[in-house]
């Protein structure tokens, strides 16, 4: 059985979140931000119609 010592948690007020979950959520937010901020290639070959 995995022991408590080997699992990491982050505490912030009433919030308690595992490191694994925090990383996944953080990564999702970063990906979303990158997706809306990074320029999308293909402007140059935009056709007429």
């Amino acid at each position: 059985m995995t022991t408590l010592a080997s699992t990491h948690f982050v505490h912030w007020g009433v919030v308690q979140i595992s490191l694994g979950n925090l990383l996944v959520i953080g990564l999702m937010i970063v990906l979303f931000a990158l997706a809306v901020l990074l320029p999308f290639p293909g402007r140059h070959d935009r056709g007429e119609r």
Partner: protein, 315 residues
């Protein structure tokens, strides 16, 4: 061939087909997405693997926490265990939880009938308990319900007062056959036969572990192991996984309510949280028709990052 229709639009959203276009390869895009996701999956699986904490057998439980097994068996006989006093769908012992005036739990009815004392303790002992257990069962079955209750409650109290809940350190008293029944249950568990007796009884194919799970969950050992890994309800446990693995972060809002009042102190917490989440889920599904909320994206302005240059529809 062409129908040149000039009509006032029924909504203010222009037709997507009226805009300038550019070439695009849908099948290629999906193929690339499939390749990328497949590679990423293989990579993550190879690096991180997946958790597999072995199931706690009733034998594991009996060896690790025998006193807990004895106390649990006694509680089943006394009718004081969680399952014994649960209510629907297992029995009529309680009305269960309510959502305001709605007794949803009770209305569903007793569709999975389980008599905790009979099904979880007496029946397996009767089937395979050995001569001492069989004699105890006879004595138990021959007594009135009142007498059974007195014996079981007395033994339960005695166990609580014994150091470490140790049955061999219990003060002498009138407990009837209860000590023998509880000891018999422990012996079945230690022998590794109790799951089978509870799940399949004598029907060969046992595919429903509800009974052994209820027995296990009536004790404190299962919960102790879970809480040690922060899997308890008031530990945001619904979101968590065993070990260091990411769990179910998408359940964040469902589990959040259990951490705060009034839910954290209510006996109807499950019904209340379920009801609240049902309403919020409906709100998400019906968002396009909810005034105020449906205009929120306009004000938040993130769309201006996505659509930086808005092309005009074709002239």
């Amino acid at each position: 061939m062409t129908t040149t229709l000039r009509r006032r639009p029924t909504s203010t959203t222009p037709d997507s087909h009226d805009f300038p276009t550019r070439p695009y390869d849908l099948v290629k895009e999906f193929s690339i997405a499939l390749l990328v996701v497949s590679l990423l999956t293989v990579l993550l699986a190879a690096i991180f693997s997946s958790p597999d904490d072995k199931a706690i057998t009733l034998q594991d439980w009996a060896n690790a926490a025998p006193n807990d097994v004895v106390a649990t068996a006694t509680a089943e006989l006394a009718g004081t265990s969680t399952s014994a006093g649960y209510g629907a769908p297992y029995n009529n012992a309680s009305d269960g939880q309510k959502l305001g005036p709605l007794s949803l739990q009770k209305w569903a009815g007793v569709r999975i009938p389980i008599d905790s004392a009979q099904d979880l303790v007496i029946a397996p002992l009767q089937a395979a308990g050995g001569s001492a257990a069989t004699a105890a069962v006879s004595q138990w079955n021959g007594a009135t319900a009142d007498q059974q209750q007195k014996w079981a409650n007395a033994y339960a109290d005695a166990l609580t007062n014994a150091p470490d809940g140790n049955p061999s350190a219990v003060k002498s008293g009138d407990y009837g056959p209860v000590p023998a029944l509880a000891a018999g249950e422990l012996a079945l568990a230690k022998a590794g036969t109790l799951e089978g007796l509870l799940a399949s009884k004598t029907t060969f194919y046992g595919a429903d572990p509800t009974r052994p799970l209820l027995l296990l969950a009536d004790g404190s050992y299962l919960e102790d192991q879970a809480r040690a890994q922060q899997l308890g309800g008031d530990q945001w446990g619904m979101m968590n996984e065993t070990g260091n693995y990411p769990g179910q972060p998408w359940l964040w809002l469902y589990t959040f309510w259990y951490q705060v009042k009034p839910f954290s102190t209510s006996g109807n917490a499950d019904a209340l949280v379920w009801g609240l989440m049902a309403v919020l889920s409906l709100a998400l599904i019906l968002l396009p028709w909810i005034p105020g909320l449906r205009r929120l994206p306009r004000y938040l302005g993130v769309h201006r990052l996505i659509w930086r240059q808005v092309p005009r529809p074709n002239r």
